[in-house]
C-alpha cells in the first residue's frame, strides 16, 4: 500500500476540494443565490415592434392590416391582451398566448380605423407602438 506523506495528502485534499467545487458548482451557486435573493438572469421584458418601422413615416392605408411583432422574454408563457385604439376609442382587441423566448406577428385590422394615429398596446403595460393611418 502506498504511503502518503503530509505534502501529498495536502495536495490530494486540495485537488478533491477543487473537483468538488467544480462539479458541485451548479447546485451550490443556485443555493447561495437563493439565500441572498440574487440573480444574474436577464431582466424579463416584453416588446412590441412594427414589422416595417418605415410605416411610421409612410403610413398605413385604411383597411390594410398593421403587422406588429410581439416578443415574450418574461421567463414564462404568457397570454397577452393587445388593444388597438385611436384617440382612446377601441378599434380592435385580441389575445395572444406566447411561450417564453418566442415572437409572434399580430395582424391588427384597420378596417374600422379612421385616418390619424393608431396605437397598439398591451393591456396593463406601458408597451405600445403607433402608426399613422391614411385614407384608402
Amino acid at each position: 500500500m502506498p504511503r502518503f506523506n503530509g505534502r501529498v495528502a495536502r495536495r490530494l485534499l486540495l485537488s478533491l476540494a477543487v473537483a468538488a467545487v467544480l462539479f458541485g458548482f451548479t447546485p451550490i451557486s443556485h443555493a447561495l443565490l437563493r439565500a441572498v435573493n440574487g440573480s444574474f438572469a436577464p431582466t424579463p421584458y416584453t416588446s412590441l415592434a412594427l414589422r416595417s418601422p418605415s410605416q411610421a413615416e409612410s403610413g398605413v392605408k385604411q383597411g390594410v392590416p398593421v403587422r406588429v411583432e410581439l416578443t415574450n422574454r418574461s421567463g414564462r408563457t404568457r397570454i397577452y391582451e393587445w388593444r388597438a385604439t385611436q384617440a382612446g376609442a377601441l378599434i380592435d382587441v385580441g389575445l395572444e398566448k406566447l411561450a417564453n423566448g418566442r415572437s409572434e406577428t399580430i395582424l391588427v385590422p384597420t378596417n374600422h380605423a379612421a385616418s390619424g394615429n393608431l396605437r397598439v398596446s398591451l393591456a396593463g403595460t406601458d408597451v405600445y407602438v403607433a402608426v399613422p393611418i391614411l385614407k384608402s
Binding site: L14, A19, L33, G38, F40, T43, P53, E57, V129, P132
Partner: protein, 788 residues
C-alpha cells in the same frame, strides 16, 4: 545528472537504459506534470459540459492562459523568482501566444482555403497541435513547462486561498443581489471586507519576517473589487467596453480577423478580436464572460506584478539592507495602484488598456527582477513589447516614448552627467552585479512595434486625432480635468452650432428650438454622515494630490540621496523610468489637448507603475528601524509613522472603492448603488440590449439613429450599419431619424448632452412631449423606446 543554465540548475533524469517502451515511458515522465494538466483540463471540460455546468469553459480558459506562457518561459530557460511573478508572466506570455497564433491563422487561413480560421474546428486542431508541440519540446529539452513554473512554489497558503476565494464569492453574490433587488447591503459588506483585508495585510505584513500570503490576498481583494463592477447590470458595465464587445462580436461572427478597411483602432487590436474569438472557439467561453470575468482576472494581476516588482528590488543590494517590509510594499501598491481612479473605476471597462497595462507592469517586473539572466530578461521584455503593440495602441505608443526617454536618461546617469559621478557608477558596477537592462535594441523594438503595427500594418487612425489636435492647438498647458456643467439652453446653443459643422445632413423638426429645456439633478447618494462632506473632500484632495508629492520626492530623493550615498541601490534603469514616469504623468495631467484623448487618470497609473519602486525605497529609508537598543522616543516614532501611513492608505482606498461616497454622500460607483447617476450612465439592462439588437436588424444605412450621450452606449455593443448621432436635444434631432430612449431617459425622465468634446455637459428632463408629438413609437419594451 544536472544541466546548468543561466538562471538555475534543473534536475533531470537520465535516459532509460533498456528498450523502446522504457524509453517512451521515460520521455513521458519528463513532461508528466504538463501532460497531467492538459489531460485533466480536457477530461474535466468534457465532464462539466456533460452536466451542463456553467463552469465548462473554466479548465480550458485557465489552461490557455497559463500553459503557453509557461512553455515560453521553459523554452527560454527563465522565470521570475517568486511564484506570483511567474503566474503574472505566464498569463501575459500566454496572451501573446494566443494573439500571435490566432492572428497568423487569420492572415494565412484564407490563402490556404480556410475561410473561417477562428472557428472551433480549425482552432481545436491548431491548439491540439500546439499542446503536442509543447509536450514534445518539453521532452526534448528535458524541462516540463508546468513543473518549471511551479518548481519550489510549494502548496499555496490555504488560509490565503480560502480568504481570497471568500472575498470573490461575497463580491459575486453582492452584485447578484444588487442586480436583482437593488439591495446594496451585501455589496457594501463585501467591499468593506476587501478594504479590511488589504489594510489588515499592511498591518500583518509590517514585520520584515512576516509570512502573510500577501500576493494571494492582494489578488483576491483586487479581483473581488473589479468583479463588483464588471458584473453590474444585465450586460457589460461601462462605456468603451460596449464598443469593444461590438468589435469582438463582429470578429466571432466573421470567423476571421481582417485588417480593418476603415482603419478602426479597436478592430486593429488582436486583444479585442483574436483573443476573445480563440477563447470562445476552443473553450466555449461566452463573449460577455470574457469581458466580465476573464479581463478582470487579468487586470487583478496588475497590482500583483507591481507588488512583486517592489518586493524584489532590494535583491540588488548586497550590503546593509534587507527587503522592504512586505506591509510597506502592500501599502504602496494599495495606495497608488489599487486606489487609483484608473484601476478602481476605469480600466475594468476599457479592457484593451487593462490587458496592456498589466503587460506593462509585468515588463517592469521583469526589468527589475535580478533572479533572471540579463539576456533572457531582455528577450522576455522584447516579447512583452510586441504583445503590447497589438493589445492597445495608446499604451504601445506611450511605452515607446517611455523607453526612448528612459534610455536617454539612463545613458546620462551612467556617464555621470546626472548627479552621480561616473567613478561611483563604475565602482558600483564592479562591486555588485548591477546591470542596465534597457538598451538600444529594446528601444528600437518598442518604436518599430508601436509604429509598425499601428501605422505600418493595420494603418489605424488612433494617432491621427491627437496628433492633429496637438498640431492645431499645441499641448495646451491648462488644468486638464476641468469640465463645465452648463444650463440646458446654453448647451443646446453650443450643440446646434457644432452639429451645423459636423452633421449638416440633420434637418430639424420645425419649431424644435422652441421646446423649453429644464435642468435635472443627477441622482446621488445622501450619505450617512453628510455633515462631514466638506472635511472629507478636503482631506481627500490633500491625500490624493499628496501622492504626486510623494512620487516626486521619492524620485528626487533617489537621485540626489540614494544615488549618491548608495549608487548600488539606484540603477540607471530605475532613474530613467522614474524620471520618464513623472514627466509623462505631469504632461498628461496638465495638457488640456492631450487629456481630451487620453484620460489623465489612466496616465497616472502608468506613472505609478514606473515610480512604485522609488516610492517604496524612499518610505523604507525614512522608516525607523526597530532594534533592541531602540529608545522609547524612537519606538514611538516608528509606531506613529506606521499609523500615519496606514491612515493615509485607508483614506485613499475608502474613497476609491466608493465607501467614501456612502459615508459622506456623492455619486457612489455602480458597484455600491442601485440608482445613482453612475448606474444610470453605465449599467445596461436586458431590454436595452434587445432594443439595440432590434435597431441593428431593422435600421440600415443611410438612416440615422439618435440617442443621448450615455443611452447610446449600448448601441455600440450591437453595431449596425446606420449612422449614430449621440444627442437627442430637440433642436438637434433629425425629422427622419430613429430616436432611441434608454431606461434613464424614459423611466427616470433624464437625458444628458455633451458638447466641446465632453468639456461641457448638461442634464435635463427628457422631452417626451416633443417626441410623442412629432414621432411614432416603432419599438417598445416599457422601459426603452424607439421613435421614428
Amino acid at each position: 545528472m544536472t544541466t546548468s543554465d543561466s538562471d538555475t540548475r534543473v534536475r533531470v533524469t537520465p535516459l532509460a537504459p533498456h528498450g523502446p517502451l522504457a524509453t517512451a515511458r521515460e520521455i513521458g515522465s519528463r513532461v508528466a506534470p504538463t501532460g497531467i494538466w492538459l489531460s485533466a483540463a480536457l477530461i474535466s471540460s468534457v465532464a462539466l459540459a456533460a452536466i451542463h455546468s456553467p463552469l465548462t469553459p473554466l479548465p480550458g480558459v485557465v489552461t490557455i492562459l497559463f500553459v503557453p506562457g509557461a512553455a515560453v518561459m521553459s523554452i527560454l530557460r527563465t522565470r521570475p523568482a517568486s511564484s506570483a511573478g511567474r503566474a503574472v508572466l505566464a498569463v501575459c506570455l500566454s496572451m501573446l501566444v494566443v494573439m500571435v497564433v490566432g492572428g497568423t491563422a487569420s492572415l494565412l487561413g484564407p490563402h490556404i482555403g480556410i475561410s473561417r480560421p477562428l472557428d472551433t474546428a480549425t482552432e481545436s486542431v491548431i491548439w491540439a497541435l500546439i499542446a503536442l508541440g509543447v509536450l514534445a519540446i518539453g521532452a526534448a529539452e528535458r524541462r516540463d513547462p508546468v513543473a518549471w513554473i511551479f518548481e519550489g512554489a510549494g502548496t499555496p497558503n490555504i488560509i490565503g486561498v480560502v480568504t481570497s476565494s471568500l472575498l470573490v464569492l461575497i463580491s459575486i453574490l453582492g452584485v447578484a443581489e444588487l442586480n436583482h433587488t437593488g439591495d446594496i447591503h451585501l455589496a457594501v459588506f463585501g467591499t468593506i471586507l476587501d478594504v479590511g483585508v488589504l489594510l489588515a495585510g499592511i498591518a500583518g505584513g509590517w514585520d520584515r519576517e512576516s509570512r502573510w500570503p500577501l500576493s494571494i490576498l492582494l489578488f483576491g481583494a483586487s479581483l473581488a473589487l473589479l468583479l463588483s463592477t464588471s458584473l453590474r447590470g444585465g450586460h457589460l458595465y461601462g462605456s468603451d467596453v460596449q464598443r469593444e464587445f461590438g468589435v469582438a462580436w463582429s470578429t466571432v461572427h466573421a470567423g476571421v480577423w481582417r485588417i480593418p478597411a476603415d482603419h478602426d483602432p479597436y478592430a486593429s487590436m488582436l486583444s479585442l478580436t483574436v483573443l476573445p474569438a480563440v477563447l470562445r472557439s476552443v473553450t466555449k467561453l461566452r463573449l460577455t464572460a470574457f469581458f466580465e470575468l476573464v479581463v478582470p482576472a487579468i487586470l487583478a494581476l496588475l497590482p500583483v506584478a507591481v507588488f512583486t516588482s517592489v518586493r524584489s528590488v532590494p535583491r540588488w543590494v548586497t550590503s546593509g539592507r534587507t527587503a522592504p517590509r512586505p506591509g510597506l510594499a502592500l501599502g504602496v501598491v494599495t495606495g497608488i495602484i489599487v486606489s487609483s481612479v484608473a484601476f478602481s473605476s476605469d480600466l475594468v471597462s476599457i479592457t484593451r488598456q487593462a490587458m496592456a497595462t498589466t503587460m506593462l507592469a509585468a515588463l517592469v517586473m521583469v526589468l527589475f527582477d535580478r533572479s533572471m539572466s540579463k539576456r533572457s530578461s531582455q528577450i522576455v521584455i522584447g516579447l512583452l513589447i510586441l504583445a503590447i503593440s497589438f493589445t492597445h495602441y495608446t499604451t504601445s505608443y506611450l511605452l515607446a516614448a517611455v523607453l526612448v526617454c528612459a534610455w536617454l536618461v539612463s545613458l546620462l546617469w551612467e556617464r555621470g552627467s546626472l548627479v552621480v559621478p561616473r567613478g561611483e557608477v563604475e565602482r558600483h558596477r564592479k562591486s555588485v552585479s548591477s546591470r542596465r537592462m534597457l538598451n538600444g535594441t529594446l528601444v528600437i523594438l518598442a518604436v518599430v512595434a508601436a509604429f509598425g503595427w499601428n501605422l505600418g500594418i493595420t494603418r489605424n487612425s488612433a494617432l491621427s486625432a491627437p496628433s492633429g489636435a496637438v498640431a492645431t492647438n499645441g499641448v495646451g498647458i491648462v488644468a486638464s480635468t476641468n469640465t463645465s456643467l452648463l444650463p440646458p439652453d446654453q448647451l443646446e446653443h453650443l450643440l446646434v452650432g457644432e452639429l451645423r459643422q459636423s452633421a449638416k445632413y440633420i434637418v430639424p423638426v420645425p419649431g424644435s428650438t422652441l421646446v423649453h429645456l429644464t435642468t435635472a439633478a443627477a441622482p446621488a447618494t445622501r450619505g450617512i454622515a453628510s455633515s462631514l462632506t466638506g472635511f472629507w473632500n478636503k482631506l481627500n484632495l490633500i491625500v490624493t494630490e499628496g501622492i504626486w508629492v510623494v512620487l516626486g520626492v521619492a524620485l528626487l530623493y533617489g537621485i540626489f540621496r540614494l544615488g549618491r550615498r548608495r549608487s548600488y541601490a539606484f540603477t540607471s534603469d530605475l532613474v530613467g523610468l522614474g524620471v520618464t514616469g513623472l514627466i509623462l504623468g505631469g504632461l498628461l495631467r496638465t495638457s488640456g489637448t492631450l487629456a481630451s484623448f487620453y484620460d489623465p487618470e489612466r496616465a497616472a497609473i502608468i506613472t505609478a507603475i514606473l515610480l512604485a519602486t522609488p516610492a517604496t525605497m524612499l518610505l523604507d529609508d525614512f522608516l525607523p528601524r526597530r532594534t533592541s537598543s531602540m529608545r522609547t522616543k524612537e519606538t514611538w516614532l516608528a509606531r506613529a509613522s506606521f499609523i500615519v501611513g496606514f491612515l493615509y492608505v485607508a483614506v485613499l482606498v475608502i474613497e476609491a472603492t466608493g465607501l467614501g461616497a456612502l459615508l459622506v454622500g456623492g455619486e457612489a460607483p455602480g458597484s455600491l448603488s442601485a440608482s445613482d447617476v453612475n448606474v444610470d450612465d453605465f449599467a445596461v439592462s436586458t431590454p436595452e440590449v434587445a432594443t439595440a439588437a432590434w435597431l441593428r436588424s431593422n435600421v440600415k444605412y443611410p438612416n440615422i439613429v439618435q440617442a443621448d450621450y450615455h443611452g447610446g452606449l449600448v448601441l455600440l455593443s450591437q453595431p449596425g450599419s446606420y449612422d449614430l448621432v449621440g444627442e437627442i436635444m430637440p433642436a438637434g434631432v433629425d425629422r427622419g431619424a430613429y430616436i432611441y430612449l434608454s431606461h434613464f431617459n424614459l423611466v427616470d425622465g433624464i437625458s444628458q448632452a455633451d458638447a466641446n468634446g465632453g468639456g461641457s455637459w448638461t442634464l435635463y428632463h427628457s422631452t417626451l412631449g416633443f417626441f410623442n408629438r412629432y414621432f411614432y413609437v416603432v419599438y417598445s419594451t416599457g422601459t426603452t423606446r424607439v421613435y421614428h
